[in-house]
Assembly symmetry: C2
Homo-oligomer: 674 residues x 2
Amino acid sequence: MSEALSSLAATLSLPLGELEALVRAVAAAPPPRDDAATLALFGGALSDDHRRLLTHAIDTARAAIEPTPWTRDRVVGLRDELRRRNLSAFWVPRADEHQGEYVPAGAERLRYSTGFTGSAGAAVFLLSRAAVFVDGRYTLQAKQQVDAGTFEIQSLTDNPPIDWLKSLLSGKTDGIVPKDFRLGLDPWLHSQNEVKSIEKELGKLGAQVVLVETNPLDASWAQQPPTPVAPVFPHPTELAGKNPDLKRHELGDELLTAKVDAALITLPDSIAWLLNIRGGDVPHTPLPLSFAVLHADGTVDLFVDPRKLTEPTRQWLGAEVRLHRREALLGLLGDLGRSQLRVQIEGASCPAILARTLEKAGATLVEGKDPCQLPKARKNATELEGIRAAHRRDGAALTRFLCWLDQNVLARASSGKPIMEIEASDRLEAFRAESPLLRDLSFDSISGAGAHGAIVHYRATPESDAAILPGTLYLIDSGAQYPDGTTDVTRTVAIGTPTAEMADRFTRVLKGHIAVARAIFAHKTSGGQLDALARLALWEVGLDYEHGTGHGVGAYLAVHEGPQNMSRRAVTAPLEAGMILSNEPGYYKTDGYGIRIENLVTVKKAEIAGGEKEMLAFETLTLAPIDRQLIDVTLLRADERAWVDEYHAWVNTTLAPLVDSVTRVWLAGVTAPL
Amino acid sequence: MSEALSSLAATLSLPLGELEALVRAVAAAPPPRDDAATLALFGGALSDDHRRLLTHAIDTARAAIEPTPWTRDRVVGLRDELRRRNLSAFWVPRADEHQGEYVPAGAERLRYSTGFTGSAGAAVFLLSRAAVFVDGRYTLQAKQQVDAGTFEIQSLTDNPPIDWLKSLLSGKTDGIVPKDFRLGLDPWLHSQNEVKSIEKELGKLGAQVVLVETNPLDASWAQQPPTPVAPVFPHPTELAGKNPDLKRHELGDELLTAKVDAALITLPDSIAWLLNIRGGDVPHTPLPLSFAVLHADGTVDLFVDPRKLTEPTRQWLGAEVRLHRREALLGLLGDLGRSQLRVQIEGASCPAILARTLEKAGATLVEGKDPCQLPKARKNATELEGIRAAHRRDGAALTRFLCWLDQNVLARASSGKPIMEIEASDRLEAFRAESPLLRDLSFDSISGAGAHGAIVHYRATPESDAAILPGTLYLIDSGAQYPDGTTDVTRTVAIGTPTAEMADRFTRVLKGHIAVARAIFAHKTSGGQLDALARLALWEVGLDYEHGTGHGVGAYLAVHEGPQNMSRRAVTAPLEAGMILSNEPGYYKTDGYGIRIENLVTVKKAEIAGGEKEMLAFETLTLAPIDRQLIDVTLLRADERAWVDEYHAWVNTTLAPLVDSVTRVWLAGVTAPL
């Protein structure tokens, strides 16, 4: 094997070490659905033998970096590092340098150091104690995953790390002397605002914050996966709807107007949007991890691993995008500072080290929102066309799945070999994967049978995998990434005959969904003002749900994006034409069942004859039948009933040509007027 | 006269100078409806002659301090003062020391210095230019009232004083050198937060903020009315529902728990609530201007003009309320500081001078909401009983007015002597004044005929007074202060036959009103989340209104109080049981007509059988018929129609025993089911 690799290295004129490193870095990215683009990163024309060899090598490397179970020596190793560096404590956040929802394998520091696998949390290690911080959804999971002898478990919301540290420091805790207390932070992993606030709070108590030069956990993590290398590829203008030159120059002009010389962009989905590129460094979101500096003249300095870029992608980026290795970032920021430039950063997401490097070198920091966020959120007409196409494709797959489920679930249950949660979501994925355009799921599917449906962020595992049985509800929340759009849809279906209570609850959730879908609202209305519409029918009978009604969604980008949102928190970002949100009210009966009805919607101008003011409305994008068996028609008003019938007629007309004949017949039935 | 006063002074054993000062101070308060309590401030048993003499003297003094028209020499006088003090500019806010909506005559500095009489605004005077800042509702009025040769008019919202000053300082404006620029602020009139922010902004530009020891405008205002003296009287526990001892000790305990030694209270309605006292220093809100320090031991230092206090009131306040002259406030704050106490202030309302005096003397400032605000907002059962009684009384008066209007308006119009706006509101006041319990109106009535109804804050003047004519709408927004409650109600009535458009708009406003009135909502819901309910039926056809849907209301206190609110602004204060809000959606057609339907509502627990979570709902308090002629029944859903019928049945049943027989017959007709 190693001999074969040596021969391949020679063929590719690549030092063996570099080839091996590239194999490992490629293996650190999520496995691609189509590996041709990945293999192209190795350059040259590869023989079939070479392809097989590389594929095998990558698979082997991937297996080698699969997370292994937590062991206590990881904590011992970290504490040794802390002692060597004279640190009293070290804070391990879930975030990577880009504050994203998905992080690459090598940035799974929280998981590595604690064993906790949730998508949000933190840990703080002292020399003789440690705590893991998780929110309400993860309390149970953390208790199962985390070693009680090593960690106490704290509430991320009620007693977050900073409060926990403050009480340790202000209480007379054994062995803790505030003035000798040195808390280590990795300034790549905490934002500028966060570090400022931690420094302020601990400073009050006389303790010290140390921004470490290298991460002590990484130093003790022998098998830490390298930063991932997945191909960066152009996102064509025919899908993006706007040339990246134009985007860069328009935003550059905005900087000019704001008397700012440059903006530092640290959020990879902003960079992907700005340059019309996509990648594959993290699961479920097609983005290349990178940093960028946008200058007021419309040019960009892009900091990205050059191994991710093939020649066509370099061509696509063009001469106005100057390429640098990620390692050159601090140097360039230093140059900007020494030139006394005014540089815009978003304090809430910019790693502290970048802000401080700029400041120390002499730059004037200008606090401002990431300049890409709003234009990225406002989808243009071309993007919306693509997104509608993606929803038709995705709706056809989901509808075929719902038909398959309906036609098999009861027979399978009575045969004693019921359909299981994982089988169901695999089947749905298989339907989606029949399209050559499927690039990825947009998140891990939530396939919840019965009581599992009441766990809002449930993920079926081989241990939890449950049967889908008569007399229950089944909830499936899933989505996909296609080159033309990102989907996210939830359907809840009755398995057999639902109870009257289930139908009552489902219909109330549906009434909320319809109230949002049909709303017409004034300009400058924020999602927070509309959230209550989704809850009224539940509130009326003393029910509610504990999550937001909607989140923003990207265009072949992150399934969660801002600034738009629809929730009880005070969200002030006004809804604007082209924004995409989910509309997903729900109801959850603990240990009973879960209900959620989720469609994506886009904001559009409402055309109103005789109106005095321009109004906005939602256009529903998602296409899939809503389970009629669960609708209590007596609870619907005439206008609500008409909405269901119109929606179903549209679903039927649109999807009928796209599904097989069995599904087509089934679809006509389940979308018939109420 | 002066001789007679001298003799009275002798009788009262009062130096003549003090008597004269007291007469002037009493005259500086709004005229009381019943002057017995006021005359009692002069002490002793007064003969009828003495009463007449005093009343005459007060009337004369009142006439002498009536505002006189603005003249340019006021600005000249101010500028002379500025030059003497080496100030480049001086900022005149609308607020007084208590940041209230109504200010006493001597604090009408904005009006005195600019001629502008609106209820919000500011002015900034430089040596060679000056600007008046007003919001959208006052643009026209400011143009009419303010001398264009002296002032430029700027938007308070788009270009507020601080932005205007910054652009003067950063642009190369003639004669302005930032480093020599000294902006004067009266630290009694600007809050701690405001001064901090002005200092920060101007500091960035190198300019200086000077907190003046005495107000330069006052120095040049020869006839400035003195601070008012109106009697302070007990608000009995049978109306307040809670003994003031208990209030003081409960809040003191809260301070203790929060490890705070004392809280500085600068909002007079908070002090009035805390001590169960009322007063008459400003129009329409029965509060005594005062400052207070609440200590963690439940005692209070109250800073109030002792001339306002009669012996029964002193008794009522008791030994745990230590009385001081207002002049002693800074001294006591200094003492608190020198004792190294932790003192809570509300930075948004606390005059900067008080915060700084504390800080300079060594106090630790603890930022926190005024501790009275929330308990004051949550009315107790006794207060709510009183408020319901006040609404019955007030509803009967309003209903008699509406009957009188209905039965006379067309005949008067065809007789050529139409009912005028001022006549109408005077008539309504007269109906209210038939109750011996009327203490004041709760604000200046808005009596708007036809197009005047579209001016949201219209106030009829002899110049604007318009006839109420057939084919128009008439809008009357008014309220009253009774010892047991504060009311605020708006009705819009058709004069003759309304157009179909009027009925359509009115019915949509009504649908919004009903949606709020009927809402059931979860705990922690804020008014901002419900505001959209009031707008949906208007939004549907491209209409909206540009004001909030609801404001908080006090219990025989301010007609505008916080923290509760219902508006498009992000208001995060959750609605809680006992809070009172207005429910007042509207629609305004400029130069056409105005529609507003306003009832007060209180938040209560919703009793829902079988609900999982405790819910809240509104109980409507206001009683008065809603004009059926303006309701387009075809636009109402069955549940909305039922709400109107139930509301009207309740109005009829409740008010019929309280009105004259003519009104009773009329009321039965106008409240018949739709």
